[in-house]
């Protein structure tokens, strides 16, 4: 059964977690997590290493099943969905993995066109869409290269191209700038911003780099100038209204709200984390 796409004006949250708990050993990694993400919003997930951020993204994509709780994606309950329907749902979800997870025995074109080849899209059309996707991430010249020949940043950009080629309605980024130098990180964040502002897709972004999180919250993508700071004296007061934060610690949600609230929070742990 194909998933129903969210229509404009639809009030159903794209991602909805209710009391989700999952544990791998004795101690739960995530305990009674609840939050929702509306259409067009970007949720930045922060927290110390090992607090379950990647697990949360895999739960959202149905790659892991929670021990208890409900997860609704596009209004559909995925915890009880059979595998076949989950695959149909994933046609509308793009995921960028922490280590890029490119298939290293096939070249960049076949990597980016992977989903299109699965859907038996004609070769000419697939090639055209691959070129467009690689143009978006500014890597057209790498089309015939193999992943081991690419640098870390280039691999990350190819995996973004692979995730966005089918114009997904929901994109999940798992530490897209992890392990990269500051210049390459800025390039990646600019791409995330471009995707957010140009295509208006909903996204969940996991990171532990505060500078990237705040850059995303206080800047906008402009076609001529790239990353542009949102004016402080304008209607949005310097922050993107659709970008929210979710902070996790010790298996629970510590904060869920907008940029202004986070920065002005009085919680000692949050103040310590942000400094």
């Amino acid at each position: 059964m194909p998933a129903d796409l969210p229509t404009p004006g639809d009030q159903t949250p794209v991602v909805e977690f209710k009391d989700v708990t999952i544990s791998f050993d004795v101690k739960p990694v995530l305990e009674n997590i609840s939050f929702s993400v509306d259409h067009g919003q970007t949720l930045i997930i922060l927290g110390p290493a090992g607090c379950g951020k990647s697990v949360l993204l895999k739960l959202a994509n149905g790659l892991l099943k929670p021990d208890s709780g409900s997860i609704r994606i596009f209004g559909q309950e995925i915890t009880t969905m059979p595998e076949r329907d989950l695959y149909a749902l994933r046609a509308h979800i793009g995921m960028v993995f922490q280590e890029s997870a490119l298939f290293d025995s096939i070249d960049v074109e076949d990597n980016v066109a992977y989903r299109l080849h699965e859907e038996h899209v004609p070769e000419a059309e697939a090639h055209q869409r691959v070129v467009e996707a690689l143009k978006f991430v500014e890597l057209e010249q790498a089309i015939s290269k193999f992943p081991p020949e690419l640098s870390g940043g280039m691999r990350r950009r190819v995996s973004i191209a692979r995730a966005i080629i089918s114009n997904p309605d929901l994109i999940l980024y798992d530490s897209p700038t992890g392990g990269l130098d500051p210049i390459t990180s800025t390039t990646i964040i600019e791409l995330v911003m471009k995707q957010r502002d140009v295509s208006r897709s909903t996204s969940l972004l996991v990171t532990h780099r505060l500078q990237d999180a705040f850059a995303l919250a206080t800047h906008r993508y402009d076609a001529d100038n790239g990353m542009v700071a949102i004016p402080k004296d304008g209607p949005d007061h310097g922050v993107d209204p659709g970008t929210k934060f979710l902070m996790l610690n010790d298996g629970g949600v510590v904060f869920h709200g907008g940029t202004e609230e986070l920065v002005h929070s009085k919680d000692p742990w949050i103040v310590n984390y942000l400094s």
């Binding site: 995921m95 490119l102 699965e118």
Partner: protein, 259 residues
């Protein structure tokens, strides 16, 4: 290696058998439902079947040679050296051909499958495959099972043929037997039941090699060390399983066809 409590050990092994059965059930069910990845099946047939030809040819040939030489000593005592032909062909077709082919291919391909799929598992490529809408069992495991079972059948035939040829070469050149008589006896010594027995075993061996290799690959954890461990375990478990199943099939065949 630390000692474990027997309870933990038994529970872990029963859980492993359960997971193995679930994987096999899904992989076999995939044969009967679309989509099918025929391109992957052909690629695997080439890599497993054609790729293993050199070692199968050498193994079969030299095993036949050794068999002829070794048995000559005992047979001469009974004045039965002329029976070398049927002894070599019976041994190769019923037992040595299937088992040695199975063990050679297990070492080569169960290890290859476990390491390839294991490396994909630890680098999150299997998760990426799922996220892109492809079922890894359907794309990776099912083609390997189909290819291995199909190709092992023919590899065993080749090993048998070369074994008989090797025995012939030794008998004619070193033992002084007549080539025509040797080959005639080889042919006459075999009955229908022997061929059926000898060609049923590769079907089981092929299934064991591919399912065990893929199982250990998909269960890999722990980075590069984990891949190494998975590869070793895949070869050990599939080799032992081939030998045990060989005994069971032999007994069953004797029950069906008589000894």
């Amino acid at each position: 290696m630390p000692l474990q409590s027997p309870e933990v050990y038994i529970k872990r092994n029963i859980a492993a058998v359960q997971e193995y059965s679930i994987l096999v059930g899904k992989a076999v069910a995939n044969i009967f439902t679309p989509p099918h990845y025929w391109a992957d099946v052909y690629t695997q047939m080439d890599s497993i079947g054609v790729g293993s030809m050199p070692i199968i040819v050498l193994t079969g040939f030299f095993t036949g040679c050794v068999l002829a030489l070794q048995s000559a000593t005992a047979l001469t005592e009974f004045g039965a050296i002329s029976m070398t032909g049927s002894l070599v062909s019976l041994s190769m077709v019923k037992e040595l051909g299937p088992v040695l082919t199975g063990l050679m291919v297990s070492g080569r391909n169960a290890a290859g499958m476990a390491s390839e799929i294991g490396s994909m598992k630890v680098t999150e490529q299997l998760d990426a495959m799922r996220a892109l809408g492809t079922d890894p069992i359907r794309k990776l495991v099912t083609p390997r099972i189909m290819a291995t079972v199909f190709m092992l059948f023919f590899l065993t035939i080749i090993a048998d043929a070369l074994g008989i040829a090797g025995g012939a070469l030794m008998s004619v050149s070193l033992l002084g037997l007549n080539a025509n008589t040797y080959l005639h006896d080889s042919y006459r010594g075999l009955v229908h039941g022997d061929i059926v027995q000898g060609l049923t075993k590769p079907l089981f061996s092929g299934f064991i090699i591919s399912t065990v290799g893929c199982y250990f690959g998909m269960k890999t954890t722990g980075g590069t060390q984990g891949v190494g461990r998975a590869t070793t375990q895949a070869v050990v478990v599939s080799s032992v399983a081939i030998i045990i199943v060989d005994l069971l099939v032999t007994r069953a065949m004797i029950g069906i066809f008589g000894s």
